[in-house]
Each structure stands twice: as structure tokens, then as C-alpha cells.
């Protein structure tokens, strides 16, 4: 039991930090430019695939550096030649553009690498088990993922709070026009922020690729959860995104481990429910089976009781 | 003694730590034309936002015809008979001039959220819209998209949307801002016409407009009303003169 709790906590933290790595880039882009990058999870996927391709030729570790740089560069180009053209048509058009982009990236990835998952391997250096607790081993690669996420998060925090660039970014987060008036090259800042945001997403992809499955559907399965994280945390709030990401990560990981259904709980009380009883499926479903829905249930609950999100302040 | 149309009691508004409105007391009598003047940054527009429900109040009360409307949503306040215009033109840019006005009359005529009658068949809506268009002199531009109108035409449309619902308390936020002399004269005549028999609360910088229209004037300085009186008394009031030192002469040059 304790074993289950410890490992679930570790995995939950890992998943949560991964979500936050993605959500932080998304929140930065949204706060500065007002556009929610629907293709953010697609850049995550591109990072994983680029990392995979690079690992075939020169190994995993160069991929860790190169893939985010490449994808970040693509992101900057997309901003410069795509988003900038669309900006004059308004926020809805920008969102639609990123939606179309996500669509196209998925098709391109399917075309180049196929619809079947690719074998993105854990690098040999980390292909061992970090520790053994109560007879279950915990892979070292996951520890690496955990540590890297924390390092990136701390780096982001330092950048935003202790550097001049960070100050400008934080100012532009709430008052982009004013920052422009102060003489900063706002279009350039936008391009950099978009590029860096995409690069962060790609980094998450390179880290997660070997551990989770690298396949064309990875963007479509992670994307909606990512948006739930930012809406629940409060659009535009980094702290909110952090809390929401960890919350969802932990809750979902714990839920997957619980193989209990409502029927199981009520049975000892003498109430028998089977598939044929009224609403049978609902009572027979275990918490583990229901786990995929939990983020969305959380979304609905937050919307009913706290519509602005946990810590939100920016309405579009 | 006229009944009170609009009453503000100890109204306070803070944005974060910064107090903008610091205890405003105001009593606008029914049927009067009441102007609010004051130096830039005094909080005049903020006051309008508080009354009309655009911003929540930090503390205090707003009473409309005796009824407490503090903190109500804008549409609820509008339904109780208070209508306001905006300093920065706030119209439906992709609808025609005619449709802009028509949207403003629909609720007051009782059409609410109905989707079972054709709006073209609604004769009362048509007639009311036509009469408002005549009042603001935009009949010839009725099918033009509001977004392509000239600035002065848009300001006229702004006033039109505000009065169309037939509200008896009308608030106009700097209606003549950016207008030329002849446009201002025309706007003043329009405002005088449409506020006949109604209560008017108007924020203005143009002193000639203020002294022309207003029955009483309130002076707002740093979020507080320092004087409320007839135009002649306000002109002679030493506190007002001090607050406006220099800016009164600027206003004379403007005209």
C-alpha cells in the first residue's frame, strides 16, 4: 500500500511537472500575445519526433539540445510569417490559425513517420533502475525526467524574477502596449517568446518521448488536458497553472491505480449492482477506467464554483 | 421639491491599493440637467462606470429612483431605466446604423429573447427606430455599416443608441469629445432635445457646452465632489477656481 502511494506520488509529480512544462510555455504565449496556441501540444509532438530522428543518427543527448532549438526556430518562423499575418483579423482568427497548424502538423507527422508508434529508446546511459522499493523498481530515466523538469522550472523562475529580460517579459505579460511604448521591440519579443514557448514544449517532448509512447496521436491526447490545466489554473496565471498541473497529474495517477468501482463499495453493504441494473455501466466502472474523464470533471466543477479559474485574472 | 432620480451615497472605488473615488455624495433631481466637471484624472468616467454597473463599487450605494442598484449587472440597471453613452465610441460596427438603433429598442419594447416572431414584422420597433434616426439626423445613412461612419456620425449614433430605449435617466460621457465647433453646436441642440422631460447626467470638458446645458454642476476633484451648485455660483466658487487654475482660460481659447 505504502509502495503504491510512493510510486503514485512520484509518477503523479512527474506527470504534473510535464504538464506544467507545457502549460508554462502556453501561459506565457497567451499572456503576452493574447493567443492560445492550439498547436502547443503539436510542437511537443514535433520535439519528440525530432529527438527520435536525431537519436537515430547521433544519439539521444544531442537530441535533447538540438530538437528544442530546431522546433523553437520553427515556432519563431511560424510566428513571424503566419501569426503576424493573421493578427490583424483578431484573436479568433489567431486561434483558428493555430488550430489549422495543429491539424497540419499531425498530418505531416503521420506522413513522414507513419501512423504506428516509433521506437524512441531510453538512452543506454540511463537504462537502469534508480532504486528498488518493496520489490518494485523505479527506472532511472524517470528520475532524470523529474530532475530535468524541476531544473527547467527553477531556471524559468530565476529568468523571470531575477533577470532584466524576465522583467520585460513580466511587464509585457500584463501591459504589452506600454512595454512597446517604452522602446522595446515588441514584435521581436513576441517572436522570441513564441519560439521559446515552442522550444519548451519540444523539450518536454524529448524528455517524455522515450517514456511515454511516441505516436501521431500524442498531441491530440495531451492537448485537451493541457487546455484544462490552463483554464482551471486561470488563464494567464503561471502559479495557477502550476497548481492545476500538479493537481491533475497527481489525481489522475492515483485514480489509475485504484481498481475499485461503485459496485465494489456498495457490495459489502448488501447492495448488489450489476451491468443490468439501472445505469449499470456507471456502477461497474472502476475508478481506473474513469480516470481519463477526471480532468474534464474538474474543469466543469471549477467552472461552476469558480468560473475565473483558481487564480485567473485575464479575460480575453 | 423634485424627487431624486439618481443618488450616490459615500461611494468609494479602489483599484488594488489606489483609491480613485473617495467618498462621492451626489443627488441628481428628476428632470434636471446635471453636469459633472473636473480636471483630468478626477475620476469622472470611473464614476459613470460605477453607476452603470461596469465596475463593482468598493463601498457605498447607488440609488436609482429610490431603488438600490449597487453592484447590479449592466443589463439589469439598463432595464430599470438608466442608459449611458461611452467616451470611446462603443457601437455595433458590423451592423448598419438602422440595426444599431433597432437593437437598442428591442428590450424596451418587450421583445426580450423571442425567436418566434420576425423582427421585420414588428411595426413598433420600426417606427421607434425611424423616429430615433430622425432625431439624430442619420436617416440618410441608415443602411451604412456603423464601422465606416465618420467620427461625428458615430458620436451621434452613440447618443442615438443611448436614448433609443426610452430610459428616463440618461448619462452621456463626453459626448462632444473631438468635435468641431459646428458639430458641437449641433450635438448640444440634439442633447437638449432628447433630454426634454428626462434626467440628464453629463460629463464634459467643454465649458461652453456645460454652461449652456446644465441646470446644476458638480465639480469632481481627486475622486471627491467639492461643490454642487448652479452654473453662476460654480463659476464664482473660489475652491473650483483653484482646482481649475489655468485650465479655465484654456477652455475659453478652445471655443
Amino acid at each position: 500500500m505504502l509502495e503504491l502511494i510512493i510510486f503514485s506520488t512520484l509518477n503523479g509529480l512527474l506527470y504534473g511537472l510535464l504538464l506544467f512544462l507545457l502549460a508554462s510555455g502556453l501561459t506565457l504565449i497567451f499572456s503576452m500575445m493574447g493567443v492560445l496556441n492550439f498547436a502547443h501540444a503539436s510542437f511537443y509532438m514535433l520535439g519528440a519526433y525530432f529527438g527520435f530522428q536525431i537519436s537515430l543518427y547521433i544519439g539521444y543527448w544531442p537530441g535533447l539540445i538540438l530538437a528544442p532549438l530546431l522546433v523553437g526556430g520553427i515556432g519563431a518562423l511560424v510566428e513571424r510569417f503566419g501569426l503576424r499575418t493573421v493578427r490583424k483579423h483578431g484573436h479568433v482568427a489567431e486561434l483558428l490559425f493555430t488550430f489549422g497548424l495543429a491539424f497540419m502538423i499531425e498530418e505531416l507527422v503521420q506522413m513522414v513517420w507513419g501512423k504506428v508508434p516509433v521506437d524512441y529508446r531510453v538512452p543506454d546511459l540511463l537504462n537502469f533502475s534508480a532504486f528498488t522499493l518493496f520489490s518494485t523498481t523505479y527506472p532511472a530515466f524517470r528520475m532524470f525526467m523529474l530532475i530535468t523538469s524541476v531544473v527547467v522550472f527553477l531556471g524559468l523562475l530565476l529568468l523571470l524574477t531575477k533577470t532584466r529580460v524576465g522583467l520585460i517579459i513580466r511587464a509585457a505579460l500584463t501591459h504589452p502596449n506600454m512595454v512597446g511604448m517604452l522602446g522595446h521591440n515588441v514584435p521581436l519579443v513576441f517572436m522570441m517568446v513564441f519560439g521559446v514557448g515552442c522550444g519548451l514544449a519540444a523539450l518536454a517532448g524529448v524528455i517524455a518521448g522515450p517514456a511515454l509512447v511516441t505516436q501521431p496521436a500524442m498531441a491530440a491526447s495531451l492537448g485537451p488536458i493541457l487546455f484544462v490545466v490552463v483554464v482551471v489554473g486561470g488563464l494567464g496565471s503561471l502559479q495557477g497553472a502550476f497548481i492545476a498541473a500538479l493537481l491533475i497529474g497527481l489525481v489522475q495517477t492515483f485514480a489509475v491505480a485504484i481498481n475499485v468501482s461503485v459496485a465494489d463499495i456498495l457490495a459489502p453493504l448488501g447492495i448488489t449492482l450489476t451491468r443490468d441494473s439501472m445505469g449499470g455501466d456507471l456502477w461497474m466502472a472502476t475508478v481506473a477506467q474513469v480516470a481519463p474523464i477526471i480532468p474534464y470533471l474538474l474543469l466543469v466543477l471549477v467552472l461552476i464554483f469558480r468560473p475565473k479559474g483558481l487564480m485567473g485574472y485575464r479575460e480575453t | 421639491m423634485n424627487a431624486s432620480a439618481l443618488q450616490l451615497k459615500e461611494l468609494h472605488k479602489r483599484f488594488g491599493e489606489t483609491p480613485i473615488i473617495r467618498g462621492v455624495n451626489l443627488d441628481v433631481r428628476q428632470g434636471e440637467r446635471h453636469a459633472v466637471i473636473g480636471p483630468n484624472g478626477a475620476g469622472k468616467s470611473t464614476l459613470f462606470h460605477l453607476i452603470s454597473g461596469r465596475f463593482p463599487v468598493s463601498s457605498g450605494q447607488v440609488l436609482l429612483k429610490g431603488e438600490d442598484i449597487t453592484g447590479l449587472a449592466p443589463f439589469m440597471i439598463n432595464r430599470r431605466g438608466l442608459s449611458r453613452s461611452f467616451q470611446v465610441t462603443n457601437i455595433f460596427s458590423r451592423l448598419s446604423v438602422y440595426e444599431n438603433i433597432r437593437c437598442a429598442v428591442l428590450w424596451s419594447l418587450g421583445y426580450r429573447y423571442s425567436f418566434w416572431r420576425m423582427v421585420e414584422k414588428a411595426r413598433d420597433a420600426r417606427e421607434l427606430t425611424e423616429s430615433v434616426l430622425e432625431q439624430i439626423n442619420l436617416v440618410s445613412r441608415r443602411d451604412v455599416l456603423a464601422g465606416v461612419l465618420s467620427y461625428a456620425e458615430q458620436r451621434a449614433l452613440e447618443i442615438g443608441i443611448t436614448i433609443a430605449s426610452g430610459a428616463d435617466v440618461i448619462m452621456l460621457d463626453e459626448p462632444t469629445a473631438g468635435m468641431s465647433l459646428s458639430e458641437t453646436e449641433y450635438a448640444v441642440a440634439l442633447i437638449r432635445r432628447v433630454s426634454e422631460g428626462k434626467t440628464l447626467l453629463i460629463v464634459e470638458h467643454d465649458m461652453s457646452v456645460v454652461f449652456d446645458l446644465a441646470d446644476r454642476i458638480s465639480v469632481l476633484v481627486y475622486g471627491q465632489v467639492i461643490a454642487t451648485d448652479t452654473p453662476e455660483n460654480i463659476r464664482a466658487n473660489p475652491a473650483v477656481q483653484e482646482a481649475y487654475l489655468g485650465s479655465a482660460t484654456e477652455e475659453k481659447d478652445h471655443a
Partner: protein
Amino acid sequence: MREIVNKNGYWMQWVLAALAVIALPYVFSSGAALTMMCLMGFAIIFSLSYNMLLGQTGILSFGHAVYYGMGGFMTAHALNVIAAGKLPIPLPVMPLVGGLAGLLFAMLFGWVSTKRAGTAFSMISLGIGELVAACSLILRGFFGGEGGISTSRTETMKFFGLNFGPQIQVYYLIAAWCLVCIAAMYLFTRTPLGRMCNAVRDNPERAEFVGYSTQMVRFIAFCASGFFAGVAGGLSAIHYEIVTSSVIGAGPSGYVLLMSYIGGVGFFIGPIIGAVLMTALQISLSDYTGAWMLYVGLMFVMVVMYAPGGLAGLLLMHKPMLMRGTFRRLLPAYGLAVVPVLMVTAGGVLVVETCYHLLVKASEGTAMNVLWLQYDAKSPWAWSAIVVLFVAGGMALRKLSPYVAESFHDAVQQAQSKGAQ
């Protein structure tokens, strides 16, 4: 004759549309064409229902397929119940069941969704779509699990002797519902609520200050839109005689967005054009190329970037010129532009097809066959030719575009001054 047309112009177009719809099967009588027209029928209703949200009220939903799907599932279940109990309810009424199901779920989810506006609303709609899609795997009784819910449209009571087995009968059923729904949704735009939807789209703040709760306006529009989406879903269930949980997911939700936007969301007729075009492309293109989804995505992005009014917008842009006869001014410019446009399109298509062939069909060897062209996919000559075609076309287009724009403005000016006379 002209006077009759002008006087009754409004009614004439509906009558003409009805006549055209009745006559179509006689012009296109093959089974494949009939099927395609049936698909277009409920795609039109679905797209129009979507545009009630996006084009008319300004709210962007990424989860509209939920109401389409729930309509389909409820209709399928209802059909099965009716068939089992031999209830005296004829088939033509069944899409109404779908509509009511769509309405019910739109009321349920809409109440929560419309609490927020703008981007938040869009993300919430995505979340709710995923929620329902995930539920569909758990609630196997209702959603039928992997195999979905099968039904039969011929088991209901005969309707004037028709049992709706043959495709042609299904076509007329769908066509009739399509016309009715188009009329209903069009009339909706002419009601007070329809007008306020537009007002809320343009300036939600001002709408509040003229006495309307924007949340309520959006909520009612959402419910109405859900109703019609459910009708479309019901018709689809009747046509396919099976409903699976794939109709609920992000795929169809994205697809209806693409259809409506490419057609043009600012015009009532836009989604109709989009639905017809996309359905035709989907059926015909997918036979010729495996990369057709990529083309659709590319078309969508092009429309978002350069033609936000969609195809309807592009066509209607020419209306003043056609009406006042100044279209002739444009013909030389357009004529000149045709060649570079063809070059760019051909070049682009060839790039995509060649890449596709090399990547996906690698096992079939490198010989390629596009229309009448035969070449080797790896040959450097072929590649250079394609690239030259694309780049040259692009450069020519770039050079020509100021001239085309100028001609266009001239023609519009002429039309306007003619109209003022």
C-alpha cells in the same frame, strides 16, 4: 417577368431551391451520386447549426460534434425501441428525436459553458467534447462500445407506402429536412434574438448596456444550435443505420469547423457552400490521393490567413460588379493571374504527392503517375522541375498581385459610382 421576379424575389429563391432539390436525382442518378447528396444534406444542416454559434454569435466551439452525436445515438435507440414495440411512429419524424436530444444536452452543457466567453469558452467546449467522448467508452450500454449502435430504418411503420429502404427515398427524406432546417435557421436570424446574437458578436459589452444579458443570448443560441446539430445527427443515423462513438470526438468537431470556415462564416450561405464542397472533395479526392486531409488543412490555413470571409466572401465580393456590369474590367487581370495560380497549385500538389509517395508508398517503388505525368519520384530532374514550377509561379503571382488588386478596386469604384447614379 422581371417584375414578377423582383416582387416575389424572396419566395422565388426558396421555390427554386426546392425545385432544384427535387430535380437533382434525375440529373445525377447514379447510386454514388445519390449517396453523396445524402451526405451533403446533413452536412449542410450540421454546418449551418455550427455557424449559428461562430458566424452569428461570435462563439467558437471545438466540441459541437457532441450534440450531433447524441442526436444520432438517441435516434438510433429510438428507432430500435419503435421497431421492437411496433409503435405507430413513422420514420420522417425521427430526426426530431435527434433534435430534442441535441437540445437537451446543449441545455445541460451550455449552461456551464456559457459562463465564460472568448478563448475560455472554446477550451471548455473542447474539454466537454473530450469528456463525452471519454464517457462513450465507459457507458457501453448507451454508446455500444467498439461496435456502436446499429439500427434499421425499414422497420418502422410505412409512411404513405414508403419503407425508406431504397436510397432515393432516404434522399428525399434528408432533402426535405434539409430545406426545412435551412428555412428555420434563416428565419432565426431575422428574429429579435437572432439580431441580438449579431449584436453580442460585434460588441458584447454594448449589448449589456442596451438591456441584454450576453450570457443568456449565447445560451439560447447554443441550445438552438444544439437542436439542429441533433437533427443532422439523427439523419446521419438513419442514413448509415449505425452510430459509433467516433461521431462525438474531436475529429468531427474539427471537421465541421473547417467546413463552415472555408465556406465562409460571415454569410448565411457560406456553410452551405462549405458543406457541399468539402463533402464532394472528401468523397472524390480520397480516391486519388492519400494526402487529401493535408490539402484540406492547407486550404483552411490559407482561408484563415488570406480570405477570412471564406469562399462565400470571395464570391460575394464580386456581387456589386456583377450587378452593375463592371465585372468585365476584372477579366484581363484575372485571366493573367490564372497561369501563375495554376503553376503554384500544380507545383504545390506535385511536391505533396511526391513526398507522400516517397514516404508512405515507398514500398511501391519510385515510379509516379500523376494525371498524365509519369516520372521517377527520386529523379533530380523531376524535383528541379517541380521546384522551378512552384517558385516561378509564386514570383509571377507576387508581381501580378498589385495589378490584380488595382483592377479590382477600379471595378468596385466603377460599380459604386454607377450605383449612385
